[in-house]
Symmetry: C2
Subunit: 318 residues, 2 copies
Amino acid sequence: MNKLAVVALGGNALLRGDQVGTIEEQEQNTTDTLENLVFLIREGYDLVLSHGNGPQVGNILMRNDAGESMYQIPQMPLDICVADSQGGIGYMIERMLRNVLNKHKINKEVVTLVTQVVVDKKDEAFLNPTKRVGKIYSKEDSEKISREKNWTFKEEVKVKDGWRRVVPSPKPVGIINEKVIRTLAKQGTIVIAAGGGGVPVYIDEKNDIRPAEAVIDKDFASSMLAARIGADEFYILTDVPFVYINYKKPEQEVKEFLNHQDTKKYLDEGQFSEGSMAPKIRACLQFIENGGSKSVITEAFKLEDRSFGTKITLDYED
Amino acid sequence: MNKLAVVALGGNALLRGDQVGTIEEQEQNTTDTLENLVFLIREGYDLVLSHGNGPQVGNILMRNDAGESMYQIPQMPLDICVADSQGGIGYMIERMLRNVLNKHKINKEVVTLVTQVVVDKKDEAFLNPTKRVGKIYSKEDSEKISREKNWTFKEEVKVKDGWRRVVPSPKPVGIINEKVIRTLAKQGTIVIAAGGGGVPVYIDEKNDIRPAEAVIDKDFASSMLAARIGADEFYILTDVPFVYINYKKPEQEVKEFLNHQDTKKYLDEGQFSEGSMAPKIRACLQFIENGGSKSVITEAFKLEDRSFGTKITLDYED
């Protein structure tokens, strides 16, 4: 039976920090990234792809603000904005992937599923929103909006009189569509799912699905999805070819293999930065704690060479 | 074996003309509409749902304009805007439908597929764009934008110094995901697909999928999808309980049953208005010409009473 891998596309995979975000840039980056999946497909892997949505949903939020200011068009809540971004990015990835497969004469179906990811309304993240989203406002405007829309704001460190909306980033606890995702992937269809960490929802006391004004970490949602669908391997494609300890210090050291215990130790020592590598490492650990055999962190462009990438397993192989 | 029906949600199903488009309005309308599908589900139908996106993609286009004006955020092309709308609307329909099923204790999976619909680049619609989209500009602004972005504009009839972008509305000729849609629906999963007529794409000489700056009629795309997946019945849910001849004249007549020949005759006589009922009638005829057994046009709220709705079949039953 084929191995099943979940691959989370992030960082430079779709849009680089030095780009403004035109569709041409996004399409080119996406194609370059997807070319590297051909290797996994040729090795016989079934694939589920997830992806980030940071710059894209940021732009959607800004457009919502602008549309309201200029044309009085009602702003959409965060769940709809994330769902919009899943539609647009998912379509782009699916189209580019179909063209990459066509080029390599690989006959595979690809589908994009709009994916709701469940969070717990009692998650303490809801008491302490930390994730900064959307436009930077002046103090005066932020106070006005806070009264009107009940949004929470925090001051920006680097911007004078800059205040930004903060939303909770709760842990994912379920994936609404996990059964369909697993079935399709096991049949050989490449499934694009859980984009942007998923559309955040919670289950109320009547068992109804309600929208949550929150964002979910993409790597955590992907790792949970990977475990839930019984994936064998979990890949996080990011901006660096390896995980390092003593990163950017004179004694920097590449780690090609890491077991659970050592990874946990480095994490506890603060070896991995909180805004960037630490959540990826936690997502990788979560996957192998929940039955996955291997998590890999690397650059998209290094996938075809197995000597690249940091492989995190429960134990070191003998 | 269960019968398979494709149901196109349009008109008042998601957003009414007298509403501004808040998410609360859309959620309530959607729930009210979906309640009426319970009848079909209880009768044992497998279901594929499609939906319009007119007001929503209109708002997305306006927000793109505003985001560029206020914050220099690059505008997304029409294919991405349609895909965004499929994400947002599809998610909303899926969530509301899951809650309706929960309320009625019906255990069914629901998925939302981002759907690309293929058009022919040689379709003569590309030579004569007619579909008005997005913001109304002044003549001066429209000429400037026309030079910058190569958009085509037409004058608005009812707006002084009003010019609006027009895009082609070519006929759908293929659905990229039709196999997966059929398989999932036949397994009993309710599939939401081909929203807004689908993300418009064409196939180039290298067999690559390219975006088309166009919009596809939702009822035509749904009718083609219905025929392609071998659906038995095709429903268009709209603002009127029946199709009429001599509509809004003293001799107005309800048509509960129509065969192909009579429908074609009324269409040729101009009984159905071009902006509204005529394309729906053509979509219904297309379905039964391609092997479907019955097309139905009615209001969502009349679905549970089979004496409502105009049924169009190849021949009248004896």
